[in-house]
């Protein structure tokens, strides 16, 4: 779960603190177990339990850019590594997850792992920049990523735009596997707005329906649906968070219409198999439309039609006389 606290006076004694020194561009780290070396290029960002860097490493004699995450605590990071090992996909015929190791910073042991560097932007940025034409395709890719995780008996859980990276031509990768939970267990990490429990639409146990619900909210947001209470400082009252409110939002969003039955199913929790959802999504894309329907309203178009018919009539009349 991602929470940002406005005020936190005392970092309490039990909290893992980002005590370890940050890595700087140009530094080289060497794994103490697997002996691989990585040259740090720059910091990419900060996650809930560590810093992420862009690093260059060696793969079969070639220099390759990786994303390298250094954890605040070895235990926390190991939990994520375990999940990555189980769930990370194959991307461009190479495993997404590359290496896990420790480097020594003086006496300190710093735990890190290495994954493929996906060049791209978050899905919300992508749609904003490239337009809603990409909506169904990126949605399809995201569903297929989730479905692959479901096949292994896990739910990704923290499905939200910032965890979904899209590269130039709409390919989707999930990042931050720290929230993934085995089916039947409790959801380990979530964000309120995308949480099934928060919307009074079901439990907080990990199953494929949990991810599909979160997907639905993400998709609705991307499609420009007006979610109830969006933008308010105070969160929604519980009675404003219900299936009916979400149905209404779908109804009022033209870009949602093509896939509306699928979205309804996601809200109702009628799907147990995400592979079926994927299939249905694809069918709807290909039979109804791959881009959102737009109501084109050009007021003078009707007039133009009348004129052209008139000209045709005149020309026919003239020709036959």
């Amino acid at each position: 779960m991602t929470i940002s606290y406005n005020t936190q006076l005392f970092p309490s004694n039990e909290e893992p603190l980002p005590s370890k020194t940050e890595l700087l561009p140009g530094m080289i780290i060497r794994g103490r177990w697997n002996k691989s070396t990585y040259l740090i290029e720059r910091k990419l960002g900060e996650g809930a339990n560590g810093h992420v860097y862009l690093a260059v490493g060696d793969e079969d004699g070639k220099q390759i850019q990786y994303a390298l995450k250094v954890g605040y605590s070895a235990s926390d990071l190991q939990s994520e590594i375990n999940l990555m090992k189980k769930l990370a996909p194959i991307v461009n015929r190479r495993p997404f997850f590359i290496d896990a190791d420790d480097y020594m910073d003086g006496e300190d042991v710093c735990s890190f792992y290495v994954m493929q560097y996906v060049q791209g932007v978050s899905i919300s940025e992508f749609i904003e920049k490239k337009g809603t034409e990409w909506l169904y395709l990126t949605g399809y890719y995201l569903l297929s990523r989730l479905s692959a995780i479901h096949q292994r008996g896990f739910a990704f859980c923290d499905v939200k735009p910032s965890n979904v990276v899209v590269s130039a031509y709409g390919q989707v990768e999930l990042i931050d596997y720290g929230g993934a939970s085995p089916f039947g267990k409790s959801v380990r990490q979530f964000t309120e707005l995308y949480d099934r429990g928060y919307w009074n639409c079901g439990s907080r146990s990990a199953d494929s329906g949990y991810d599909l619900f979160a997907f639905c909210i993400v998709f609705m947001q991307l499609a420009g649906a007006i979610l109830p209470g969006k933008g308010e400082v105070e969160v929604l009252l519980p009675h404003n968070r219900s299936k009916t409110e979400l149905y209404e939002a779908i109804k009022g969003c033209p870009a949602c219409h093509i896939v509306a039955p699928v979205l309804h199913g996601m809200i109702d929790g009628t799907y147990t198999d995400s592979a079926k959802v994927l299939e249905e999504w694809k069918n709807r894309m290909h039979t109804i439309g791959i881009v959102p329907k737009q109501d084109i309203k050009i007021p003078w178009l009707g007039g133009l039609a009348v004129v052209s018919v008139l000209i045709l009539t005149i020309s026919i009349y003239v020709t036959f006389n």
Binding site: Y5, T7, Q8, L9, S75, S79, N82, R188, S203, R204
Partner: protein, 261 residues
């Protein structure tokens, strides 16, 4: 470890009656109960003194403290509970590991023994720990400030109770939660009163706490002590005999109707 015990104190003010809450929290910790504290910021009389106290109570109680706005309450309680469970498991495992390891393997006594393990061993240990987090029994008490200034935040509190119920229900391990409020209503002699006996059916309980009389002093210290006493008694007495989930439903309802003003 058989069970994790925690108290979450939710307040928007500074204690002003009786024993110091910091001392009370230290007592709780000595009994193996972690004390977490949430200070609510909006329209409260928390002030600098109250904010400082919130941190001190949590430190004495071995727990976490957060100052948040009312609408963040659900998330905060949820997160604290999870953190408390995870940290307790981690500490227990670390201590066990330290016993096994020789001083040679640990270059410093303060080193986290997890870091000494090879990646393969580490992966296994963490896997077991993650499993324990999910399955260990959890016994928690929610201690709610019901002084007059809490009135405006009460709907957020009720929502947080509902939300906590959702999260606990999803856990595989046994959960029980009881709810107390302080100050007690005027008829009561004690500093706090029990609104809800230990239950694992929390999700539907929230609505029962509307219409509470909200006024009076803030006896945080005495209230913590009473909750601690209650938790110990329960643990030594009925608790060990018929374990968790043994609360008959009618009992709970009867009790509630007595207490709602």
């Amino acid at each position: 470890m058989d069970m994790i015990k925690q108290i979450i104190l939710v307040t928007d003010g500074c204690s002003n009656v009786g024993t110091s809450p910091v001392v009370a929290a230290a007592h709780a910790y000595a009994e193996g109960i972690v004390v977490n504290v949430i200070g609510i910021l909006d329209h409260g009389d928390l002030g600098q003194r109250g904010a400082f106290e919130v941190g001190e109570i949590a430190r004495a109680g071995g727990g976490l403290s957060r100052l948040v706005h009312a609408h963040q309450l659900s998330q905060t309680i949820q997160m604290m509970t999870r953190q408390t469970v995870a940290c307790t498991i981690r500490q227990t495992v670390q201590e066990e590991l330290k016993k096994i390891m020789t001083t040679k393997q640990m270059n410093q006594p303060t080193t986290d023994p997890i870091e000494v393990l090879s990646p393969q061993q580490r992966a296994q240990v963490i896997e077991v720990m993650d499993e324990m987090v999910e399955t260990v029994s959890l016994r928690m008490s929610l201690l709610l400030d019901t002084s007059a200034s809490m009135k405006s935040k009460w709907s957020a509190v009720i929502e947080a109770i509902h939300d906590l119920g959702l999260s606990l229900q999803a856990r595989q391990g046994a959960n029980e939660i009881s709810i107390y409020r302080f100050p007690a209503s005027s008829a009561h002699k004690l500093a706090c009163e029990k609104l809800l006996h230990p239950t694992n059916q929390l999700a539907k309980m929230g609505e029962l706490f509307y219409n509470l009389e909200m006024r009076g002093t803030t006896p945080s210290g005495p209230a913590i002590l009473e909750v601690v006493r209650d938790m110990i008694q329960e643990y030594n007495g009925t608790y060990s005999k018929d374990k968790i989930q043994a609360q008959p439903r009618h009992n709970r309802d009867g009790l509630l109707s007595d207490y709602i003003v």
